[in-house]
Amino acid sequence: MLGDAMFGSKMFRRTVVRYWRSLRSFWGAALAAEMEYQINLLIELLATGGNLAGSLFVLSLFYRSGHGLGGWSWEAALVVLGMYTVLDGIASTLLQPNLSTIVGHVQNGSLDYVLLKPIDSQFWLSLRTFSPWGLPGIVLGLVLVVVGAILAGATPSLQDVLLTGLMLICGCLILYSLWFILAATSIWFVKVWNATEVLRSFLAAGRYPISAYPIGLRLFFTVVLPVAFLTTVPAEALLGRASFSWLAASGLVAILSLLASRWFWTFALRFYTSASS
């Protein structure tokens, strides 16, 4: 549907405006609903701060003893941890609240109504709501990235900063596509709602530079589950030591996985037969 609308730039612009308006009203409503639970803000702030302190403690365990992490300096490892915290915050803000509802829609049959809406179903399912409780993580993560980069003595040019942003966006797209594909398998296996939890638990590996792992795991976290592109590559871009091949690979993986998620969704919908049939 979205593809059809792309013909003609006037039509395209109108579509973008329509989707943007929908997005604003979705998120406005979500924010209003979440504000009912203000005490949660305090809990989330404490949880994010506590988790960050804990991660720093773990990191210090590796460096205190001279063990190190794959040849990365303590300051550079901070940048990786910051990138992870940012991505984790984005996951809590957008991915987790949206994609966890897909299973419920399949189970209750309310996916019927989603498909009937005059809006792209993947767009609706992926961006319908947002949870403000991941925002402290994003802010704290960015602070950690900046502090780590300054301590590491990095002098990124504007180009490096833009490249880092681009790599982070690529990381987000890869993460989103993986998560969405896993959630979409619920069309066949309704009871896989916690498959995304498995994904999330593996992603914890991205807290540390990928070169800190033994060769087998390093391969696994690059080829099978591309954790390397999520945190290590953006950190390398900011520290000005990313190689062109890694940057290109990250962009390529991002585009391919996004296309794969699109293809998988249209494929999965062919097998959707509503709840009672």
Partner: protein, 275 residues
């Protein structure tokens, strides 16, 4: 007395077998939960990788820290196993039961609702057992040098320590669960409790790698007894058994009356949803 005992035993049997049948229906989900406990293996990768010796070539060389790679592998596998059998999720189920009004029905029955949740947890652990064995077998297949079987005495102590760890974790979470009577989103509190559990329990590193003051402080909290101590027993390491069990006993002695008190206060507050 005798009939009372017999009635109690029958109750236990019925509760456990019905919960086990229920959990078997969800074995796919439980397998996924088991799989999501990979953190110990990630940490093993980090501690054995990095600048140290490669975990996959099983030479008995020491890593720069003087860590024996095989002992490290055994420790983290033991951590994985201990964690699988001490997982507690009562706060989420209870929160839902409370919000949906199912709790009212449970309260009418001549059995304290807590036993329903305890038996559900035990049944779920039994359902997990085959997956955990399969994952451990896979681990030994990938890393045969780390294979070991604990001695019967060590195994007995480890199982006992695991049961106590489960009791401790259940008690702490159940104390938090009673907050459900006052708040609609008590499960958010579990996120806070999880932080000291994650970083002080020995899940992310063996305790002897901690700075000495932190290690000593941690040993006064209940958290190392939920993971590190049972795991060390299972892996056949030296543990101060008497002191450990004494600390666990103290914590249970503090938590049990506190939880009971909170539960009774909460029940008085309870007016069923919608009332």
């Amino acid at each position: 007395m005798n009939t009372k005992l017999r009635r109690g035993l029958r109750l236990v049997r019925v509760l456990l077998s019905s919960q086990y049948a229920y959990m078997l229906e969800y074995r796919a989900e439980i397998a996924l939960w088991a799989l999501s406990g990979v953190l110990p293996f990630i940490m093993l990768g980090l501690w054995s990788g990095a600048s140290g010796a490669d975990a996959s070539n099983a030479t008995a060389e020491l890593t720069p820290l003087g860590l024996d790679p095989i002992a490290l592998a055994r420790y983290f596998l033991a951590v994985f196993i201990v964690r699988q059998f001490t997982l507690v999720w009562v706060i989420y189920t209870f929160e839902e039961d409370h919000l949906q009004g199912r709790l009212s029905g449970y309260l009418l029955q001549p059995l304290a609702p807590v036993w329903r949740y305890v038996s559900a947890h035990i049944a779920e652990q039994a359902t997990r057992l085959p997956f955990v064995i399969a994952l451990a077998a896979l681990f030994f297949l990938l890393y045969p040098a780390a294979f070991w079987l604990p001695s019967p005495a060590a195994l007995l102590l480890a199982v006992l320590a695991m049961q106590l760890a489960f009791a401790l974790r259940f008690l702490i979470q159940f104390a938090l669960t009673t907050v459900c009577f006052w708040s609609e989103r008590a499960s958010a509190l579990e996120r806070l409790l999880f932080i000291p559990y994650l970083y002080l329990s020995g899940l992310i590193a063996p305790l002897h790698l901690y700075p000495e003051p932190v290690r000593r402080l941690a040993l006064w909290t209940p958290f190392p007894y939920m993971i590190a101590i049972p795991a060390q027993l299972l892996a056949g390491e030296e543990v101060d058994v008497v002191a450990s069990f004494a600390v666990v006993g103290c914590w249970i002695a503090i938590l049990l009356p506190l939880t009971l008190f909170l539960w009774r206060r909460g029940l008085r507050k309870y007016g069923a949803m919608g009332a």
